[in-house]
């Protein structure tokens, strides 16, 4: 049985429909990538899972429970942590305080603590007393990832962690992913960068205009199929 699942998930902003029946699954220990162009609905999907957008209860299931209608704080307490699009550090908080917010509610023993997060991203330890917003973009992204890990989540949702970062920095950050996976967490990475997504993921979902247009193992998907699913076949 899958750990996390959406069933016929729809999503609206007022009258505007952003998701049209999205079904995705994530198994224990698996890493899944969601790729798609700007505006495809990836962030809306993440917001629906994390509870920022309230859904019908059965549209999102986690560990056999219907969580679609739960508020975000309760979903996080169950073990779904988010690295939000745009990092969203708290400007009034130092780096360390930002990290501590990750385990504000969900305090479970596990592989991740301040020490192990600093082990994963040593630069953060040097900067721990600085305001989060004084850091470079890549370092801020490390804080955002570390903050999510602090709750020892069962599922980690990462929304476009490479957005606006230089390629070398992206490489540095993705270098942390094998260690994150080793701890047993299931991961969803949302990416526009298809190459990066293919490298880290066991399976890939491609979205276009609010629908899943292609899914499968990276090795089974041809470049043409991905191109068509990403940009539309006629394009």
């Amino acid at each position: 049985m899958s750990l996390l699942e959406t069933r016929d998930l729809t999503g609206f902003y007022g009258d505007f429909q952003a998701l049209f029946g999205v079904d995705i699954t994530l198994s224990e220990g698996e890493t899944v990538a969601v790729i798609g162009a700007n505006g495809a609905g990836k962030t809306t999907l993440m917001r629906s899972i994390s509870g920022v957008i309230t859904q019908a209860p059965g549209m999102v299931r986690f560990d056999g429970r219907e969580i679609g209608a739960l508020p975000p704080d309760e979903i996080m307490a169950l073990g779904i942590a988010v690295v939000p699009e745009g990092r969203k550090l708290f400007p009034s908080l130092s780096v360390e305080e930002n990290l501590m917010m990750g385990c504000h509610r969900r305090k479970v023993a596990g592989p991740w603590s301040l020490d192990t997060v600093y082990g994963l991203f040593p630069i953060l330890k040097e900067r721990r007393h600085q305001p989060g917003t004084a850091l470079s973009g890549g370092q801020q992204q490390m804080v955002s990832i570390g903050r999510a890990l602090m709750s020892n989540p069962r599922v980690l949702l990462c929304d476009e962690i490479s957005l606006g970062l230089a390629p070398v920095v992206i490489k540095d950050i993705y270098a942390a992913f094998p260690q994150i996976r080793e701890t047993g967490a299931s991961v969803v990475v949302v990416e526009q960068d298809v190459g990066q997504a293919m490298k880290v993921a066991d399976r890939v979902y491609c979205m276009m205009e609010g629908r899943v247009t292609l899914s499968g193992r990276p090795s089974d998907l041809s470049r043409e199929a991905i191109h068509d699913a990403y940009f539309g076949a006629a394009a």
Binding site: K88, F90, S92, L93, H104
Partner: protein
């Protein structure tokens, strides 16, 4: 020497104004809510202490100690049941609701306690004073000022040294992301207003023992509180303390020059500070 005395009396008076203002500053800093009923809630707490003193024969300090948790609960419930519902991107609904609450409180107190002005008896403490060199300082004003500093230190500690304070600041920055960290903004706000009402109760103790009050006393206290918060810089607790002291000193100095100028001098000081530093003395780095 007489001027030193005047300024010192003003500083001590400023402690009272800071106590009026700190709760307002706390709530505004966390949820950008301007509570127009803040002054009336101080008066409500003063009547609560007065009741405990007269009905149970308690001393004012013991009565205030009992009133503290009661007022915390009042604040918590008020936030949960009323204010959380009107908080949002639009600042007008909370202003209207707290204005309405102010009117309701004044009329309810009027019904319950009549329009007569009252005072919380503090016995020998009312007139006790200690000589400091050639100057003599009242014990109650000294206690008031000491309490203002202690309250500022305590709030500062909660804000910057505890998990609750971290959640306060995070929620103030970005409630949606805070909720993704497991924070329930509605309960964080309820805690904040509860704590603000604890400060309000301490302010009420010193307001009620220092001078007469009646059900309509609130709005004037609200103005001093506003001025102290704004002079200090929105959201800065030490700034609020400094703001209270500036108004207090301006009032006593003004009164010394001409007794009719007391209130006016406080307002003038407020305007002068705003002219020189439009964002207050200790504005936040960002907003």
């Amino acid at each position: 020497m007489i001027w030193v005395d005047t300024v010192l009396q003003g500083v001590l008076l400023g402690g009272l104004y800071a106590l009026f203002a700190l709760g307002l500053s706390l709530v505004f800093g966390i949820m950008r809510l301007v509570n127009l009923a803040h002054g009336d809630l101080i008066v409500l707490a003063a009547y609560l202490i007065l009741m405990l003193v007269t009905l149970l024969g308690l001393g004012p300090f013991v009565a205030a100690l009992i009133a503290l948790p009661v007022m915390f609960a009042v604040g918590w419930v008020l936030q949960r049941l009323v204010l959380n519902r009107v908080l949002g991107p639009d600042i007008l609904p909370p202003l209207l609701v707290t204005f309405g609450l102010s009117v309701v409180l004044q009329n309810a107190l009027q019904e319950g306690f009549s329009a007569d002005s009252r005072r919380i008896p503090a016995g020998w403490l009312e007139t006790a004073s200690v000589p400091v060199g050639p100057i003599s300082l009242g014990v109650m004003p000294l206690l008031t000022f000491g309490s203002a500093i202690l309250v500022t230190l305590a709030l500062q500690f909660v804000f910057y040294r505890t998990a609750l304070g971290r959640a306060f600041r995070a929620t103030s920055d970005d409630p949606v992301t805070a909720s993704l960290m497991g924070v329930k903004p509605a309960s964080v706000f309820a805690m904040a207003t509860g704590i603000a009402m604890v400060v309000v109760t301490i302010a009420a103790l010193y307001l009620g023992t220092r001078a007469n009050f009646d059900p309509t006393t609130g709005p004037a206290r609200l103005i001093y509180a506003f001025e102290a918060v704004i002079i200090g810089g929105l959201g800065s607790l030490w700034g609020t303390l400094a703001g209270g002291i500036i108004i207090g000193v301006a009032q006593t100095v003004g009164a010394k020059i001409n007794p009719e100028w007391q209130i006016l001098a406080g307002h003038v000081a407020f305007l002068v500070v705003l002219l020189v530093r439009p964002r207050g003395l200790f504005p936040r780095a960002f907003d």
